[in-house]
């Protein structure tokens, strides 16, 4: 979605009455700010595709739902998603835990959008898991986050879109599987 003047409006300010006072020579400013507000609101409202969490406090899932694989596994999937025509990208952030001492290890994550007939697959986001790349520690595990995104090029149907977040952890050169414990995943769309 291109704004009326080609600029990216990432914020907007309130319009005070002084600008539209009958005697105010600022009609142009009112129009400009009103359009900027409309553009900003359509860009940032209703972006959320979905949130999926896997709290470690689930006693029912005492095994923690750990993934151990050398190929992509569906971590989360959101269905019946509506993507407005001006959405250009879908992205997700995955928080996960990984056991220290399992190095070398590398996370691989990607996002896939499917509208029933067309698919857009994002490139795989990869980084090595070390103590330095950890965001924090919890329950004896290091916690990490990885960001993935996909540009919408082929998907055309705006409704009933499925969005899949895939990930796995293995040795950097594609060796043995390592454990990945999902903690939370959030997915949203945006417009460039």
């Amino acid at each position: 979605m291109t704004s009326f003047d080609g600029r990216a409006y990432t914020g907007a300010e309130f319009i005070p009455p002084a600008l539209y006072h009958p005697a105010a020579p600022a009609v142009g400013d009112v129009g400009l700010q009103a359009m900027a507000a409309a553009y900003m609101a359509s860009r940032y409202r209703g972006q959320l595709v979905g949130v999926q969490t896997y709290p470690m406090r689930f006693r029912f899932a005492a095994h923690r739902g750990t993934v151990s694989s050398t190929s992509a596994v569906d971590i989360a999937e959101w269905g019946d998603v509506h993507l407005p025509a001006h959405a250009t990208h879908v992205g997700a952030e995955l928080w996960f835990a990984h056991a220290p001492g399992e190095e070398p290890a590398e996370v691989n994550a990607s996002l896939e959008v499917y509208d029933g007939s067309n698919t857009d697959t994002g490139s795989t986001s990869t980084f090595t898991l070390t103590e330095d790349t950890a965001e924090g520690a919890f329950a004896g595990l290091y916690t990490y986050r990885v960001l993935v995104e996909v540009a919408l090029a082929n998907v055309t149907a705006p409704d009933e879109v499925r969005v899949r977040l895939k990930a796995f952890v293995d040795e950097p050169t594609g060796g043995a599987a390592r454990d990945l414990t999902p903690l939370s995943a959030t997915c949203w769309r945006w417009t460039v």
């Binding site: 990432t10 914020g11 907007a12 300010e13 309130f14 319009i15 005070p16 009455p17 002084a18 600008l19 539209y20 006072h21 009958p22 009609v27 009112v30 129009g31 700010q33 009103a34 900027a36 507000a37 409309a38 900003m40 609101a41 940032y44 409202r45 209703g46 972006q47 959320l48 949130v51 969490t53 896997y54 709290p55 470690m56 406090r57 689930f58 006693r59 029912f60 005492a62 952030e93 928080w95 919890f138 916690t143 986050r145 903690l183 939370s184 959030t186 949203w188 945006w190």
Partner: protein, 291 residues
């Protein structure tokens, strides 16, 4: 502030009739005012950030009836109640309200710490008072980042109001002072305590597994009793030995050992029950922005 500077916000959003913008026609004051009010409304109205729900019905797993999202509170140290939740938001909205539906035993307190891009868990806490059934709690005026994205992490710890340990269920004793010895388990991040007069049950569902904490009270039974420190009991390897964590600092540990060895000082330990919390909903709604 002057009324000419205080923005007006429309109570509902509706499009202006296209006739208002007829080519070559001057815009009147009412049209301009309507445009401005509606623009102000677009950038000011709050929205829901996320809504997460879990079953409230107990399920039987490995022979034990429990809630789906069930946790034992930690007495002295923050523990993460829920992993970080990232969410997109309308830029400019900078506060919100968190709704938590939870089951906390009657008489117990659980303290929740809220961490966002503009608050940390120590600065923004709320005490949830137990009712014995699922109840709605809310935390208002939570500051959030002004930008297009923020992140919420919930932490929790116990409110230190737990009853003394049930000796019928978990064995004896639940208080003590004499013939006590304690040692650090360096490298394990915990300390332990041995008292030969104890006879705690060590099987499944013992006092460590059920969730208890130990606290040291100075001038026990006196006019000025003071809790010196509290720690969560993390293991019960023998019927007369329990381990707590995290470990005490060396200074505190030595002072504690000296105090319990000195019979003139009425220092006594207590084992108390940790409050539990079962969660069925976490929701966040961003407040509307005001001029």
């Amino acid at each position: 502030m002057s009324t000419w500077l205080t923005p007006e916000i429309a109570s509902a959003f509706g499009a202006l009739d296209g006739a208002a913008f007829t080519d070559g026609r001057a815009l009147d004051a009412l049209t301009l005012r309507t445009m401005a009010m509606q623009a102000n409304r677009l950038i000011s109205v709050g929205h829901q950030a996320f809504n997460l729900v879990w079953p409230e019905q107990q399920v039987t797993f490995e022979g034990v009836s429990q809630y789906f999202f069930d946790a034992v509170a930690s007495p002295s140290e923050w523990e993460m109640l829920h992993p970080p939740i990232t969410f997109p938001k309308l830029p400019g909205l900078d506060s919100g309200k968190i709704y938590i539906r939870a089951n906390i035993p009657s008489g117990d307190d659980v303290i929740v710490g809220v961490e966002t891009g503009r608050s940390n868990r120590d600065d923004l806490t709320a005490t949830l008072t137990g009712t014995g059934s699922f109840a709605n709690y809310s935390i208002s005026s939570v500051p959030f980042d002004l930008g297009a994205i923020d992140q919420l992490t919930l932490w929790f710890r116990g409110g230190f109001k737990g009853d003394l340990m049930n000796t019928t269920t978990y064995g004896t004793l639940n208080t003590g002072s004499a013939a006590l010895s304690a040692s650090p388990l360096r490298g394990w991040g915990r300390d332990y305590l041995v008292d030969a007069s104890n006879n705690w049950n060590t099987g499944a569902g013992n006092l460590a597994e059920a969730g208890h904490y130990i606290q040291i009270v100075d001038d026990y039974g006196g006019s000025d009793p003071r809790v010196m420190w509290r720690r969560k009991i993390v293991a019960l390897p023998l019927s007369d030995r329990l381990e707590w964590g995290p470990a005490l600092t060396r200074d505190v540990f030595l002072a504690f050992r000296a105090a319990i060895a000195n019979t003139a000082v009425t220092t006594q330990w207590e084992i108390r029950k940790l409050p539990t919390i079962a969660v069925s909903q976490i929701m966040c709604v961003l407040d509307s922005r005001t001029p």
